[in-house]
């Protein structure tokens, strides 16, 4: 157990260190891509807090992401840079407030009904920015001047933005890892495993779930802020259910119940997309990239019941000569 514990921290540490070193070797295209993936990783971790840790499958995470992004753009002055010190908290707060509102209502329902109510509220936010003047309609809005912090931090510089994102990636991971090991996190795990029993042992579960939901929304707002600043552009598609769905796919692919699974899933999902889309490898066939991605996902479901996080375990058991237990279920 101890060995496993250090192994997994070693792995995460190495990933973070590698990401910190990447700007010194990567191209500007690579920098932009990895920044994007890191933002998705933050977003995926926020969803992991709900789905993998608390057992609440939220299908509306894109709304909180989008709100964070829209606030960043709407609250920026038109002809100068906004101050990071209040713009970032404003984005996070706005997303968290909407999450509090959505959570307060939707947590009355359970299971698939919860999935659909969160979708409904996300769609409402989507249509507000899509169909009203407020959000600039389908065309979206541009952010011409990215926020700065005096002369210390200028997010117009892609490298600065990269490290800024990296810091928040590490912060999110550490924050959530500590949160999940705290009393609060243990209660969430208890709710995931058996909510009835948690209530029987005297926990009022609703406030805990609501707190988790709001926290998750706030972190998603942070990711939205970063995304808006990176692209300098927001549009309603950031709130569409396609993104909420893709995020769920990322964390399931990576492996539910593990924070690093969310990061691995985000990387794997975007890399697979880029890989199958690359015309250098597939030539003409690259335009049918979804076929390869689809089959890869199906193969992952069939062979890796615990997601990519379970890959080392499956491989180790294969090498030991004995089949992993879950794979036997697959083969039966």
């Amino acid at each position: 157990m101890d060995k496993l514990f250090t192994g997994k921290f070693l792995f995460t540490g190495l990933v973070f260190a590698g990401l910190a070193l990447y700007p010194f070797i990567g191209s500007s295209y690579g920098l932009d891509l990895v920044s994007k993936i890191m933002i998705y990783a933050i977003l995926a971790m926020s969803l992991e807090l709900l789905v993998g840790s608390t057992g609440l499958v939220c299908f509306g995470q894109a709304a909180f992401f989008g709100i964070g992004a829209y606030i960043a753009v709407l609250f920026s002055p038109e002809s100068e840079s906004a101050n990071l010190l209040w713009l970032l908290p404003a984005s996070i707060l706005a997303a968290a407030v909407y999450a509090l509102f959505v959570g307060a209502l939707s947590l009355r329902t359970k299971g698939v009904y919860f999935i659909m109510v969160t979708l409904a509220f996300a769609q409402m936010a989507y249509y507000v920015v899509h169909d009203t003047k407020l959000g600039g309609g389908t065309d979206g809005i541009y952010l011409y001047f990215k926020p700065i912090l005096g002369s210390v931090l200028d997010l117009n510089n892609p490298k600065t933005l990269y490290f800024f994102t990296w810091v928040f990636l590490v912060w999110t991971f550490v924050f959530l890892a500590m949160l999940l090991r705290s009393h609060f996190g243990r209660v969430l795990a208890g709710i995931r495993i058996n909510e009835q029993r948690m209530r029987a042992s005297g926990f009022s579960t609703y406030p805990y779930k609501l707190a988790a939901f709001t926290t998750s929304g706030g972190i998603a707002g942070l990711a939205g802020f970063l995304f808006a600043v990176k692209d300098g552009f927001v549009n309603p598609e950031m709130m569409s259910w396609h993104l909420s769905g893709a995020l769920l796919i990322m964390i399931i692919l990576g492996g539910l119940g593990h924070l690093r699974g969310a990061i691995i899933g985000a990387f794997a999902f975007v890399f697979l997309q880029e890989f199958f889309k690359s015309s250098a490898i597939f030539g003409e066939f690259a335009k049918h990239w979804q076929l390869g991605l689809g089959f890869t996902i199906i193969a992952c479901v069939a062979l890796l019941p615990k997601g990519l996080v379970g890959l080392p375990e499956v491989l180790r058991k294969r090498l030991d000569g004995s089949r992993p237990r879950d794979a036997q279920v697959v083969l039966k």
Binding site: Y113, L291, V329
Partner: protein, 293 residues
């Protein structure tokens, strides 16, 4: 609002609602009985519509054509497809976490979309309604209503009644209802639950594909049409209460009317109305209108 316009909108709502019901019925069956959240259900609708487009020239050259032969052949192919998919992709997933099945069906969506693109291309196609249904019926002095839309409504209604009969009056229906209430109990009574699942899945696929086929002449056939219908069908299933055919029917009608009249009366809020409705209903009744289990 003019009375004849009102009447036309009512007929449109009815037709849309019935069509939704047909797709959603398959979804709620698969959902309620097998516990599979089937994201690929929209793809089956899309496959049906493309079959209506692609099969008609083939059928015309081999059998001398006919709209109904296309429907029958498409239906048979859809049943075979459903039977095969359940065997190849789902039969080993039931003991796993539900979210694994979600991932699987997501992979299937991508595969189906690309296969469609490879086989038929990415163009938008129209499908001709058969000649004897291509006419219009006059309503009032100026308005007319296409016969084909009435035909869709009628056929959906017939299918709905047929399904209702199978569900409530036959042995198979009894097994399906029992399976949705308590899987282990049904199994221990000696019913082959695997076969039952395969039948239900094939039926669900066939219903969605059939809905796609008959709606092809009114909605045109285009890439991504499956995703359009998928979410709205989930809304129907959830409002109605998972696994409840009666609930799905009522919810589909409700959505049909709210959506159609919303587009006429409140065009700027039309998109969001359905979701507001769903949120309100679920906050009022957290388990949908008709809870089964």
């Amino acid at each position: 609002m003019d009375f004849s316009i009102f009447l036309i909108q009512c007929l449109n709502s009815l037709q849309y609602g019935l069509l939704l019901f047909l797709v959603a019925m398959g979804l709620t069956l698969i959902f309620g009985i097998m516990g599979v959240i089937n994201l690929a259900h929209g793809s089956f609708y899309m496959i049906g519509a493309y079959m209506a487009y692609a099969l008609s020239p083939i059928v015309a050259s081999t059998f001398g054509g006919g709209f109904f032969s296309v429907l029958v052949i498409g239906l048979v192919l859809a049943v075979i497809l459903g039977y095969f998919l359940e065997w190849a992709f789902f039969s080993f997933l039931y003991e796993r976490d539900h979210l694994q099945q979600v991932l699987m069906t997501y992979g299937l969506i991508l595969v189906f979309e690309e296969l469609r693109s490879l086989l038929v291309g990415d163009d938008v196609h129209g499908v001709q309604a058969p000649d004897f249904l291509a006419g219009v019926i006059p309503l009032g002095d100026l308005m007319t209503y296409p016969v084909y839309r009435l035909f869709i409504s009628a056929i959906c209604l017939l299918l709905a009644l047929g399904m209702y009969y199978i569900f409530t009056r036959t042995r198979l229906g009894m097994m399906i209802r029992a399976g949705s209430t308590n899987r282990e109990m049904v199994q221990s009574l000696g019913i082959d639950i695997k076969l039952l699942y395969r039948i239900v899945f094939a039926a669900g696929v066939a219903l969605a594909a059939f809905a796609g086929m008959i709606s092809a002449p009114v909605s045109t056939v285009y890439p991504g049409m499956g995703n359009q219908v998928l979410i709205i069908c989930f809304v129907v299933v959830v409002i109605g209460g998972i696994g409840s055919i009666r609930g799905a029917f009522l919810a589909a009608m409700l959505i049909g009317f709210v959506d159609t009249f919303g587009k006429v009366l409140l065009p700027e809020a039309a998109g969001v109305l359905v979701y507001v409705l769903m949120a309100l209903i679920l906050l009022w009744k957290p388990d949908g209108l008709f809870k089964t289990s």
